[in-house]
């Protein structure tokens, strides 16, 4: 037997569980503004999630998937996006969406059952995809957007997409990575490995020791990072996006984290999750870790942290108000179900639209 090829999968971590540098930090980690910004984004998300879950409990929100414990993944990754880049999120992509200009009340609208939640108003997100509920379908959309960028020879643009570790079992995940490899597409895929696909633990999802190594099948670079370490996530994704923008092709980044919440508000994780595993995971939680780092760095003091929390809550309340206002005072007319189906509604369906309108309110 002769050795043909060999591959390595590396792991990147900058901050240990106690928030102490475990490695030489990248430059941005010293930039107080940047680091505080990341912290505040993570905090906003945590508050938004908590509020959305609370709204669901009182019947003012439908099924909602929180990101608790996984904030560093999406916040770190999306902080690397430029206004020319395109985001193709997965359904637990709140962090990335917020990071690319989607407004909290749009996210609430979507999960509240109103299509307008995907009609992003911020120009930053104008070309971004809406949430992909069918698992792994977004991977191919990302590859398609990346193909357009590549074919047009656009520089300085790349596509960022995300998927859960469970989603990597879907064939479309591999199809997208494979074409990203052979067409050398400007695309970065982050795997949010939060250890669970609803009730199915990671070890029942694949025999691969890492999800990062799934890149080997496509001949692209794969890397694992500590997904609770926002510095590692930002560093890896930032470099991968730069590589993509400069013709270097696609990268797969596995961010290892833990889902510190139910799968969605429709789930009850206590049915299948070991309380000890959860307790262990809580120790590695990203927000507290980053707070410790920031305090050590002297970028913030305890009082400021409290102020941030208050500000985040206020911001969320403001957005919740907008959400309520839209639902209550500006509901979609029933005919909306026909008005965006085609550029122009075919004659054939006109009568149905009329009927919907005629029948009026619920």
């Amino acid at each position: 037997m002769q050795k043909l090829a060999s591959f390595e999968v590396n792991y990147l971590q900058y901050l240990d569980e106690g928030g102490k540098p475990a490695n030489d930090l990248p430059d941005f980690a010293d930039d107080h503004e940047v680091m505080v910004g990341l912290y505040r984004s993570m905090q906003l998300l945590r508050h938004l999630d908590a509020r959305a879950v609370a709204l669901q409990r009182v019947g003012r929100m439908r099924t909602y998937p929180a990101s608790e414990g996984q904030e560093a993944v999406g916040v770190g990754a999306s902080s690397c996006l430029s206004d020319r880049d395109v985001l193709v999120p997965y359904y637990r992509g709140t962090a990335m969406m917020l990071g690319h200009g989607v407004q909290p009340h749009e996210i609430l609208l979507y999960w509240g059952g109103d299509e307008r939640g995907s009609d992003y108003q911020n120009p930053l997100a104008k070309e971004d995809f809406p949430i992909a509920v069918p698992i792994a379908t977004q991977m191919l959309h990302a590859a398609g957007v990346a193909s357009a960028i590549k074919l047009r020879g656009q520089k300085d643009r790349a596509v960022l997409t995300e998927i859960g570790e469970g989603g990597t079992s879907e064939g479309e995940f591999y199809e997208a990575l494979n074409v990203a490899g052979v067409w050398n597409l400007p695309m970065v895929c982050v795997i949010n490995n939060n250890q669970w696909a609803i009730s199915v633990p990671s070890e029942m999802q694949t025999a691969a020791q890492t999800y990062a190594q799934k890149a080997v099948a496509a001949g692209i670079e794969g890397l694992q990072v500590d997904g609770n370490d926002v510095i590692a996530v930002k560093d890896a994704v930032g470099k991968a996006l730069d590589k993509a923008r400069n013709g270097g092709g696609a990268t797969l980044i596995e961010a290892v984290t833990y889902r510190l919440c139910d799968h969605t508000t429709a789930d009850d994780a206590s049915r299948y999750e070991d309380a000890k595993a959860r307790a262990e995971a809580e120790k590695k939680e990203p927000l507290g870790r980053l707070a410790k780092y920031l305090l050590n760095l002297g970028a913030v003091n305890e009082k400021q942290l409290d102020e941030f929390a208050v500000a985040a809550k206020a911001e969320v309340e403001k957005e919740v108000k907008i959400y309520f206002d839209i639902l209550e005072n500006k509901p979609q007319p029933p005919s909306a179900m026909f008005d965006y189906l085609y550029a122009e509604l075919p004659e054939r369906f006109r009568a149905q639209r009329d009927e919907v309108m005629r029948r009026g309110g619920e």
Binding site: T63, D114, G167, S199, V200, F349, E362
Partner: protein, 326 residues
């Protein structure tokens, strides 16, 4: 006799058949430890072990493809697709392979498999969680498509589906998973897969419906009764291949027919029934064949979902229309 909801009846049928026949295995996403996101398989892994109730990786084509392979070995896989909106990745296996195996091997291999899926809207679920695309399967020879409309039928029809030697698509109307209860004796009695059920006798108009829509349809029939209109109500139950004879017999009596279905109007199973009537009942029909269906659009999200689904009013109105026709 236990009093059970539709979903509990599903569980009971699964339990019964697993107990009776050790070739029956359950597979799907979250069906084991978690007992299914709707709890259809609740308790079965504890009872039968993780070699008979299998939590699979997350891939629907894989769930269907594995079932095909297992079925050729004489196992009886009962696969769950978590929501009907997620069956699309499995269509290659279901339409392209499962439906054809017996035919392409001239009977050498056959597939005693069931694919269960919660289906339909009305529970304010997120996007892609409310599909009613039974027409895709009904248009595929080699498959059977079965939809129970109440707990007893869920029990009897699911037993029949599992025992059937060919692939059966078993669609569970999730909106009525828990709205009525029936007393069900766990006697292992399967229902036939080749007849529909006449649930209400009437003389003026025939309603044909299935699944969750039976609920609204029966309410509409009651409402009409108060107006002096006597409606016959047929539960199609086996949506493919369906029992057209019972429908024709009824329409020959009533002269009028309204078909009620949640799916998109164009190309739905409702259209096929109407086509059969247009071919075989012309002289008996004294009014146009009505169809009350989901509109020709994408099921709206929760906020407008209620406007999309056929309501008791829409059904009754259509019946009034055909009654007024002359």
């Amino acid at each position: 006799m236990p009093t059970l909801t539709l979903i509990e009846a599903v569980t009971l049928a699964l339990d019964h058949e697993m107990g009776r026949d050790k070739e029956v295995v359950i597979l799907g996403e979250d069906v084991g430890r978690n007992g299914g996101v709707f709890r259809a398989t609740d308790g079965l892994q504890d009872k039968y072990g993780d070699q008979r109730v299998l939590d699979t990786p997350l891939a629907e084509a894989m769930i269907a493809g594995l079932s095909i392979g297992m079925a050729t070995q004489g196992m009886k896989p009962v696969a769950e697709i978590q929501f009907m909106g997620f069956v699309f990745p499995a269509l290659n296996q279901i339409l392209g392979a499962a439906a054809r195996m017996r035919n392409r091997t001239r009977g050498r291999l056959h597939l005693p498999m069931v694919v269960r899926m919660p289906y339909g809207g009305g529970i304010h679920a997120p996007e892609h969680h409310s599909e009613s695309t039974e027409a895709i399967f009904a248009h595929t020879p080699g498959l059977r498509v079965v939809v129970p409309s109440n707990p007893s039928r869920a029990y009897g029809l699911l037993l029949a589906a599992i025992r059937d030697p060919d692939p059966v698509i078993f669609l569970e109307p999730k909106r009525i998973y828990r709205i009525v209860k029936h007393e069900i004796e766990d006697d292992g009695e399967a229902y036939p897969l080749d007849t529909c059920f006449v649930d209400r006798q009437g003389d003026d108009v025939t309603f044909v419906a299935w699944g969750a829509m039976m609920h609204e349809t029966l309410l509409a029939a009651e409402m009409l009764a108060k107006e002096g209109v006597s409606a016959e109500v047929i539960d199609l139950a086996t949506v493919a291949p369906y029992d057209v004879e019972t429908i024709i017999e009824s329409v020959e009596k009533t002269g009028r027919c309204v078909i009620v279905a949640e799916a998109v109007r164009t190309g739905g199973v409702a259209s096929d029934i109407a086509a059969e009537l247009a071919e075989r009942c012309l002289l008996s029909l004294i009014a146009p064949v009505g169809r009350v269906t989901g509109y020709d659009t994408i099921m709206p999200y929760a906020k407008l979902e209620g406007r999309y689904l056929p309501s008791v009013d829409r059904i009754a109105d259509e019946a009034r229309k055909v009654m007024a026709f002359s």
